[in-house]
């Protein structure tokens, strides 16, 4: 079989060009936490409250995160049975800011407010974040449903998974 120029273009150059077009990193827009809270609470943002990481809470948080928490006190906003959390977690080297809404110990919504890594930005898309809706913790403090990862965004996916577990756990401690 002779391989000509046209064959090389069709089988190698064109697909490569298409892949390269999509390969460029594209961090999404930053959502200011104040703007996020305003949207969630429809402008009537309540006073914030705090939960301290100490004793057993800190030990469990360390186990969930896989490292000592970078904070001893985490702030949240509460209205009725709903709590809203804004929390940072490192993906690979940079912090990602997440916003999570918990209601009755179940995630109502999860958003990425700021993404600072050079790759893994795909977790900002709705198709990925929608997986977290309705998720709760099981008895081992893992998410009660598996999350489909995204190739090339493993560390970012793990970051939001850890944060979801932590926030669900803290929400449970508040309820109890």
């Amino acid at each position: 079989m002779r391989i000509g120029f046209r064959f090389l273009i069709k089988t190698i150059a064109l697909p490569l060009a298409v892949i390269l077009c999509f390969a460029a990193s594209a961090a999404g827009p930053v959502i200011a936490p104040g703007e996020y809270l305003d949207r969630i609470f429809a402008g009537a943002v309540p006073e914030s409250e705090t939960v301290w990481m100490s004793g057993e809470t800190k030990a469990i948080a360390t186990k969930i995160l896989g490292h000592k928490p970078d904070f001893l006190r985490l702030r949240y906003w509460r209205k009725d049975a709903m709590t809203v959390w804004v929390i940072d977690e490192i993906g690979k080297t940079e912090p990602i800011t997440f916003g999570l809404v918990i209601e009755d110990d179940v995630i109502k919504s999860a958003e990425v407010l700021a993404f600072r890594e050079s790759r893994g930005w795909e977790i900002q898309h709705e198709f990925f974040l929608n997986q977290f809706q309705g998720i709760a913790l099981d008895s081992d403090r893992n998410l009660d449903r598996p999350i489909d990862g995204i190739s090339g965004a493993t560390l970012s996916v793990r970051a939001i998974t850890r944060v979801s577990r932590l926030v669900l756990y803290l929400s449970q401690t508040l309820s109890s």
């Binding site: 079989m1 002779r2 090389l8 104040g34 006073e47 705090t50 904070f71 001893l72 912090p95 560390l155």
Partner: protein, 248 residues
């Protein structure tokens, strides 16, 4: 030149290109594999020595910035780092504007954050605009009764660090004692500079610069580009040569 001679010439060129590029193929394969698994190998959190960073990158640690003494604790800034009593705090920070003691420990203000620390230097919380903190903090201070104030964009702001409440206020009757920088001990400064210099260039960054040729500057980049062109030619001549043999 007839077809057979052209084919022999092509084979000869292909072989010579292969030999020339073999070393670069090995280098790129090894560095590429290391970069692929940089997190697992831990090279992204391991750093080259300050001496190496100075020689190959011309990077040296900057001078230590403002130093604040708060209740017997020393907060020192250098580059994008903050040190509490000589221990680096996790995270990146802009230059501090001052620090005060509060109920749970220390409060360090930068232009856009307030970092709350325990007396042992553990981070309690980082207050930002998300918590309602005003922007453009210029300084932080206290009154004799322990109330904490900020000056931000020329306004005086009364602060409750537990409730994260920031209320524009009139100048209080009691004078505000604003936090001010104090001289840094030479030994502490040297220790901090050496520690900071040891975190400037990660092994991952070095491997990436070898992989891309950037370690040798423009020359290295051009060399890698030439090798890339060579690899492309190798692939094309190899496939063409194979197709001609298949065609017979």
């Amino acid at each position: 030149m007839n077809a057979a001679a052209r084919t022999r010439l092509l084979h000869a060129i292909h072989r010579r290109m292969g030999v020339c590029s073999a070393l670069f193929v090995i280098l790129l394969a090894v560095t590429g594999a290391l970069l692929q698994h940089s997190s697992t190998l831990g090279v992204d959190n391991d750093f080259v020595s300050p001496g190496f960073a100075k020689v190959w990158y011309g990077i040296v640690a900057p001078e230590a910035g403002p130093n604040y003494a708060i209740n017997g604790n020393l907060i020192t800034s250098i580059g994008d780092a903050l040190y509490c009593n000589g221990e680096r705090l996790p995270g990146r920070f802009t230059e501090p504007r001052g620090g005060v003691a509060f109920a749970h420990g220390l409060a360090i203000a930068t232009a856009s954050t307030i970092l709350l620390l325990t007396p042992e230097g553990e981070i309690i919380e980082t207050l930002t605009v998300a918590s309602g903190l005003p922007e453009n903090i210029e300084r932080i201070g206290t009154t004799p009764d322990g109330s904490i104030y900020l000056q931000a964009s020329n306004a005086i702001v009364e602060v409750d660090l537990d409730a994260a409440s920031f209320v524009t206020a009139e100048q209080p009757e009691a004078p505000i004692s604003w936090s001010s920088a104090s001289p840094i001990d030479g030994v502490l400064e040297s220790t901090i500079k050496e520690d900071y210099a040891g975190t400037l260039i990660s092994w991952e960054r070095l491997i990436l610069d070898i992989h891309t040729g950037r370690l040798l500057g423009t020359f290295g980049v051009v060399l890698v580009d030439l090798m890339a062109a060579l690899f492309l030619l190798l692939a094309l001549t190899g496939v063409w040569s194979w197709s001609r043999r298949r065609g017979r």
